[in-house]
Amino acid sequence: MSKLLLALLLIASVDALADDDPRGQVSCSASVSVVDGNGRLREARRVSASVVPSVVIRGRVSPREEDSPALLFDVYNPHGRRYQVLLATPRVVVSERDGHRVKKTSKTREATLAVAGSSIALTSMFGRWRVEPRLEGESRPCGRAEIFTIRP
């Protein structure tokens, strides 16, 4: 009897959580990369402000729906203050098929954050940076924060 009561309580609390979240099970992600000299992306945990022009932040929203709100990345500086809000746009991949160039919109959305030559370098804002994915119109993150380091 007590197990049944506990189960009912757990179901009730899950329902309450679902009611609190008007978007249901929407979740999102963020990952930080840099483009190397050959134009290829590689993971970036530590970035040199004297070498890397920009970092690329990529994310996904799931489930993916045409009318899902815009994905934003809140970028926080080492002081914990928000430095920029980046609007992620769908990534366009161009490939060749039967001699024709084909444009395809990827599920992945991305945004760039300038580093070398930017205010980050010009004010020595070196240290641990945090990126939080968020849906436009929401005040809370929709996924896990990513940490990366910018060094001189």
């Binding site: 134009g39 920009s54 030559g117």
Partner: protein, 667 residues
């Protein structure tokens, strides 16, 4: 009879004028404007909205009619979807320069084109072309900005607050909040300004009952959608403003219920009457953190301009007076979508003052410095005509420099290099009046062939020599010198004399700042870790020597003391003073330890050097005694950005990574 004589007299006078004018241009100058001059149209839901376009000829043409073609041109607003494309020819009869008008139409819709994150209005242009019988075109472009009305219950837009005090009493603080009234299918009926206050810190009210230590004031409609509102909180209010104290405001927009977009802004009050900080400008936001304003503000004739890291350009009235810090009367904040990283130049042309902003997504924008209208954008999404895209869309964008005929240049050119993730860029010369590329380097036939590396800093122009110099970074750090070509035919070409050109600095990897020309030498700071240095290149013979400081990046550029051969610069945690005697660079003093100093600024003709630091202070450093006078602006680990000088008003202007712009009175 009398009228007949007058007509004969007029005709004779005009004939004489016509004869006298044979050596002059035939007619006057042509202008196109949208009236009223703020050029903003609030969109509707269906049908179209007429907009009157006015065409002016500055003086009548005595020799014949004057005509000019006009047409609408897409900006971020698109033809047919957002406006009805139109165009024809306007003709001013002989002897007649009465202004003429045409009507164009904004296309209404119910598509939500407003993003509360980017805050960008759409816009399109009316352009003049092919004038006949006129001396020329003085202003060939007018901008129509469309304020979208389709967002569901938007909050107030571009909220900001100016903080100062009206007296020396403890309750003489003053916070003036400004915002744009949002446009919506059904407009707001009320704004509610609520606040909480505490001597040291506070949080913005989450509702109109969450006001412990504060209160609320209501502003009732009707309101003009897209219009500007000012709310003053000072000692004339029932609840006065204490000094010093922290104030956190929320502005609620009421549409029956509250808009979910609660705009908030937090300030700390101060006594500006005896104190050196005369006013502070703080932009607001929809959620809990401010945007950094670390880019040095630009001081122009019509105002002080600041681009936040949210890409919004704000203008503030200059000086120390009743309206200082507030938006100029004709100004509307404008969002560019991305921030800038260096000071944006303001240049006045016959068509008006223009603010040129390079943003970090590889775009260059010209903004009307009086109205805030975008005059042109070289943007990836909407290039000018069939012009080549600027190649910086994946990286940083260097700040535009310029050469202008009004300052003695042979041509009017905006000179800008770009940076991408993979290098391979070009250096562009744009027409400052319309953004069209006049030339770029290297092009086919240029030497050396092939693309250049990234340009991170502003170029420097040698006006008498008609030359431009810039640094590139990538596989090797290099200084370049280009000739800019003859008057009327700009042509960027590698200088063949001096023969050092281009000059590799013997460093691989790292970045450069912006070069500075002084005493026949070019100075360039490079960032290459512990080997970072400033370099002195003798332009005449290519002699190169360096000064290695071992403290990482040289911030931006070297500041030359215009009185002699001294130079000042800042690095990661130090402020340096050196001397270049023509053979070597030597230290004037042991580097001064300053936590994360900004790019320096010297007040002309004085020994005072100004630097922002990482502890919320603006520092005044005497370059002779090295005595430091701090101006505390904030507390804790707050980064203060690069200073700018309003020399007329003895004000230094700086921003912080809390997003605040301070106006500091200096000796």
């Amino acid at each position: 009879m009398r009228r007949g004589v007058t007509r004969v007299t007029q005709a004779l006078a005009l004939l004489l004028l016509a004869g006298a004018g044979t050596a002059r241009a035939q007619g006057g100058l042509l202008r196109v404007e949208i009236l009223p001059p703020v050029n903003r149209v609030v969109e509707g839901d269906s049908g179209t909205i007429p907009v009157t376009v006015t065409f002016y000829l500055s003086s009548p043409n005595p020799t014949g009619p004057t005509s000019v073609n006009w047409s609408t041109t897409a900006g971020s607003a698109l033809a047919t979807a957002d406006f009805v494309p139109a165009g024809d020819t306007v003709t001013f009869p002989q002897f007649n320069n009465s202004f003429q008008t045409r009507t164009i139409f904004v296309q209404n819709d119910t598509v939500n084109e407003w993003s509360s994150t980017l805050q960008q209005d759409e816009y399109f242009y009316v352009d003049l072309s092919a004038p006949v019988g006129a001396a020329g075109i003085e202003n060939g472009r007018a901008t129509v900005t469309i304020v979208d009305n389709d967002a569901n219950q938007p909050g107030v837009q571009y909220l900001s607050v100016v903080t100062d005090s009206t007296g020396t009493n403890a309750t003489d603080g003053r916070n003036r909040l400004q915002w744009r009234v949002p446009a919506a299918p059904t407009g707001p009926t009320q704004f509610k300004v609520c606040w909480k206050s505490n001597p040291t810190s506070c949080s913005s009210p989450l509702s109109d009952t969450d006001t412990a230590g504060g209160g609320c004031s209501s502003i009732n409609g009707p309101f003009t959608a897209g219009g500007k509102l000012l709310f003053t909180h000072d000692n004339t209010n029932v609840i006065k403003v204490n000094v010093p104290a922290a104030y956190c405001y929320s502005v609620f927009t009421v549409y029956g219920g509250f808009s979910p977009e609660r705009a908030e802004v937090a300030v700390t009050t101060f006594d500006s009457t005896p104190g050196p900080v005369k006013w502070a400008f703080t932009p607001g936001h929809y959620s809990t953190a401010a945007a950094a304003s670390l880019v040095p503000p630009t001081v122009g004739l019509d105002g002080i301009y600041s681009v936040g890291t949210d890409g919004v350009v704000y203008a503030m009235q200059r000086g120390v007076g009743a309206t200082s810090g507030l938006w100029p009367p004709t100004w509307n904040p404008v969002a560019l979508g991305k921030p800038a990283h260096n000071r944006s130049p303001v240049v006045t042309f016959s068509a008006g003052a223009r603010l040129f902003v390079g943003t970090e997504n590889g775009e260059v924008h010209a903004v009307d410095a009086r109205s805030g209208s975008i005059v042109w954008s070289r943007a990836a999404g909407f290039p000018v005509g069939s012009q080549q895209l600027m190649p910086g869309s994946t990286g940083t964008q260097a700040t535009p420099a310029g050469v202008f005929t009004s300052f003695g240049g042979l041509n009017d050119l905006l000179l800008v290099g770009t940076a991408t993730a993979v290098g391979n860029t070009q250096f562009f010369a744009l027409d400052p009046t319309n953004g069209v590329t006049r030339d770029f380097y290297p092009t086919g036939g240029d030497t050396p062939p092939g693309l250049i590396d990234n340009v991170f800093g502003m170029a420097v122009v040698d006006y008498p020599g008609n030359k431009v110099y810039f640094g590139t970074a990538g596989s090797a750090l290099t200084l370049w010198g280009l000739d800019m070509g003859p008057s009327g035919a700009p042509d960027l070409k590698l200088l063949t004399t001096p023969s050092w050109n281009p000059k590799p600095l013997g460093i691989t990897g790292g970045t450069t700042g912006a070069p500075v020309a002084r005493n026949g030498r070019l100075y360039l700071g490079t960032d290459n870790g512990a080997a970072s240095a400033i370099h002195s290149l003798h332009v005449s013979d290519g002699t190169l020597y360096s000064y290695t400081h071992g403290d990482g990046q040289v911030k931006g550029f070297v500041w030359p003391d215009r009185r002699d051969d001294r130079l000042y610069f800042t690095t990661v945690n130090k402020v340096h003073g050196v001397r270049d005697d023509g053979a070597a660079i030597t230290a004037l003093w042991s580097p001064i330890a300053v936590q994360t100093p900004s790019i320096p600024l010297q007040k002309p003709g004085t020994d005072n050097l100004y630097v922002g630091d990482g502890t919320g202070q603006l520092l005044q450093i005497n370059v002779v005694s090295q005595a430091i006078t701090p101006f505390p602006l904030d507390t804790g680990t707050v980064q203060i950005g690069a200073p700018s000088l309003d020399n007329v008003n003895n004000l230094v202007l700086v921003g912080s990574d809390k997003g605040v712009i301070y106006a500091v009175r200096v000796p």
